[in-house]
Symmetry: C2
């Protein structure tokens, strides 16, 4: 057997273990009984150890470093490069027992986080969060880093991302958007209050919401033969291949827009996964290439396509059919684009959203600036509150609407948040490029996503992890990433809606 064939045989075993872990986690999030959590976390620990040992060993190392690189085709070249980066620059630096203990810890920690959030009790979760942070600091030391230690975590989610790049990005956001936001949030307050009072006082039966969400995901061309939509506390997307992509949503009886837009957001993620070509999927280059690119796809659907005037008109008609609407179309459009200085990131509007991300970025950067310092959850919670007060003039009065609102830290996902803001910025640049090829408004007016999806498939989705984020953006938009499209887009859109002059 030649080396590359043997390598793929090993990777196929690892695919099976990862597949099992993904479904076990999905099960844990969506339906496992509470008493099953301990046993699921043990099983995940065992499987992650197994996965580690399957990849991190001398045989794989010998193959990866012993291959004649020039003889490989382009796909296998990329596969080998990814393995070097993900396994030998990352995974293999961490001892197997540490790796497996950490995997168990993060499952339990996520459970504890849920408990803490539900009961607004930081104490039950604090020791887990502190331990998760401690592990991640250890990991950085094991792995080594250049410049700021936090660079390592940033680049785990977006290749080559550094604090310098993100600092610059958020400086731009802060300088350009903060004064603009402060002005916007003083406008149309009474009008919005009145619209919301009428819209939210009604009951929107959950059964009907489910049917509507399904209808919308079908309009967006989510493929139910290769996907599942289900409920969970917090909406998310997970996948085991391009043929099995799962999204969740959460229904609130008085607020149908929550489920509708989280379904649209997750469908954006899902379409990216479902449109990856089999040739990449079957050669272990399936799966979206980075969190930033992934988020660009969820946000382009959520905000750019589905809060677009052309689409909102047909959404309004759909909702009227399901529930009967007590507000006008113009009121509905304003409601969808309400700007608020609020506490909860996932409920934030498009304009203030990057500020929420910036706060998390600043906190994480500070946490990981000193790898020897023991962190204290209570202190972080206080800094969290201070920053909300500083940037958005609101202060969380409970842990649940402050530090406990997001699941990420409980899973050890530090460095993840920045990719959310980056994704939004990518999406503005991608939308701008797409407009040159497609009359997007016309497509959206007709609820027609086939041309839009084909464009995304051709330019981005098909490649899976074959092309890096940088190349993808260049490939799709004809130029390198630039945050200016994002800031321009936001200012342009919201200055019109709120009749604010752009400086």
């Amino acid at each position: 057997m030649d080396k590359i064939t043997r390598l793929k045989e090993i990777l196929e075993k690892n695919r099976a273990y990862q597949h099992a872990m993904t479904i076990l986690s999905w099960d844990l999030e969506t339906e496992a009984p509470v008493n099953a959590a301990v046993s699921i976390s043990k099983t995940l620990g065992t499987l992650s150890e197994l996965s580690y040992l399957t990849l991190v060993n001398d045989e794989v190392k010998d193959i990866v470093y012993g291959l004649n690189f020039d003889e490989l085709n382009e796909i296998d070249k990329k596969l080998v490069l990814n393995l070097k980066k993900d396994i030998f620059d990352k995974m293999s630096k961490i001892p197997v027992d540490v790796y497996s203990k950490y995997s168990e810890l993060s499952t339990i920690s996520t459970q504890k986080w849920g408990e803490a959030k539900r009961s607004n009790n930081l104490e039950v979760y604090a020791p887990y969060l502190e331990e998760i942070i401690r592990y991640n600091k250890e990991f950085i030391k094991y792995r080594g880093y250049n410049g700021h230690p936090y660079n390592l975590l940033l680049s785990d989610y977006e290749n080559e991302l550094t604090v310098e790049i993100v600092d610059e990005f958020f400086k731009n956001i802060k300088d350009e958007l903060t004064p603009f936001i402060k002005e916007v949030i003083t406008k149309k307050r009474e009008e919005l209050k009145d619209i919301k009072a009428r819209f939210l006082s009604k009951s929107y039966p959950i059964d009907k919401q489910k049917k509507l969400s399904k209808e919308i995901s079908e309009i967006l061309r989510f493929d139910y033969n290769s996907g599942v939509i289900k409920e969970s506390e917090h909406p998310f997307t997970t996948n085991t291949s391009n043929k099995d992509v799962r999204i969740t949503t959460h229904y609130y009886e008085n607020d149908p827009l929550s489920a509708i837009y989280s379904t649209i957001h997750e469908t954006g993620h899902a379409l990216y996964e479902q449109q990856i070509l089999n040739v990449y999927q079957d050669n272990f280059l399936g799966g979206g290439v980075s969190m930033g690119i992934h988020e660009s796809q969820s946000r382009i659907f959520e905000n750019m396509f589905c809060k677009n005037d052309s689409f909102t008109k047909s959404l309004y008609n759909l909702m009227d059919k399901y529930f009967g609407m007590d507000i006008t179309l113009d009121e509905f459009k304003l409601l969808l684009n309400e700007v608020n200085a609020s506490l909860i990131r996932v409920e934030a509007d498009e304009l203030t959203y990057p500020i929420h991300v910036m706060i998390r970025y600043e906190l994480e950067k500070e946490i990981f600036s000193d790898l020897e310092r023991k962190e204290n959850a209570e202190d972080i919670a206080k800094k969290w509150a201070d920053k909300y007060e500083e940037y958005l003039s609101v202060r969380p009065m409970t842990y649940s609407e402050g530090i406990l609102q997001d699941v990420h830290w409980s899973q050890g996902s530090f460095g993840y948040f920045s990719s959310y803001a980056l994704g939004s910025a990518y999406s503005a640049q991608i939308y701008n490029a797409m407009e040159k090829d497609i009359d997007i408004s016309k497509e959206l007016e007709n609820n027609e996503f086939s041309n839009i999806n084909s464009w995304l498939k051709e330019k981005l989705h098909q490649y899976g992890s074959f092309k890096d984020p940088k190349d993808l953006i260049l490939n799709a938009t004809g130029e390198e990433f630039s945050p200016k499209y994002y800031v321009d887009y936001l200012k342009n859109k919201f200055s019109k809606i709120y009749e604010v002059e752009v400086k």
Copy 2:
């Protein structure tokens, strides 16, 4: 590390792999998208190979055969005995590549069976069925057998069961029940026809059925902290431990009794699993001991408790509350105990049920009487139809209501069906013993299952796989298994309802 500790460390790894396989199968049955089936079957194949290699190796063999048996406590003794039987008398005889290929085949075969059943097309499934049978014949040869080759398969589901015992059991059923059934099915025909016409012509909204099923499972004391109820094409129970027991049901808009009684049946299975003591669960003796004992628990709930006059009265009131009832209580009681010569086993009444099982037993015994003969699915389907005509005077006109009705063969579960009839017979004997300690009718009148469940826990459930079926029956009833309770129970019950004289 001493030998028994090391053994348990290995078994803990295997538990994790089995856990993952159970959840993957559950996922496949209940919600995975159709395009995911191939990848799930590959993953199951990989994990079953891994499980095999974890258990079947020299280290485990050396431990199991090198232990000083006399030094072990009772629990560890039983654990070692089970391992000898399940691994070294069974699994280790089959080569690993055959074992893993078979595991993949049976997953695909189950998919094909579903397709075939839905489209009434035997052809798409026939080659898989024939291949599954061929594998099982090979397995018998690998493993060796005493007497009839089919004995080996029977004893996989019920320790020490042989064709002699089952032949004798069914001879008794055939002699005692066949003439009795022939008489019963001539009685009260017009009355039942009229009741059914009224009962089934109504619509019973599925949402309400779901709520009712949940309420009933709560009355029966299903523990939702350690369990899940969901939907699937065919109701079943699966579990990964006493803390994670999952059952499914299927709702039909015009026939609420189908979902109600399948929920009750599966809840019986689930209670058995949920009431196993942690000391056995944690020492790898969790899980019901045999299919026969398991079925005795589902059937004692389905038939003996929940078709008992005392319970049906409160069920009638519940249903009236949910749907409004257009038939009287007496009519409802008769409807629940309708006896029919029908084609579908899972819809069969309590009295004709063992005949359905007997037909499958006779077919399987014939199939496995010759290990060299290649079987033909079409021939088996014809024999199936002939036997229904012979014993029940009905003949399936489609494959879907004949050979394609049951999932078992597609999964290679030959030898399983007999345990269904045996379970019913156990349940009659258990009920008889329970009546000496508890006034069952009084408990059921009050919808009170705590004493009943405690009795079952003490006498049967708590032991998991620690006690063998024979000992359990002796322990619970004070005597060895005897089929006379079953035949007496059926004749006694149905002679009263149908006013037929018992000969």
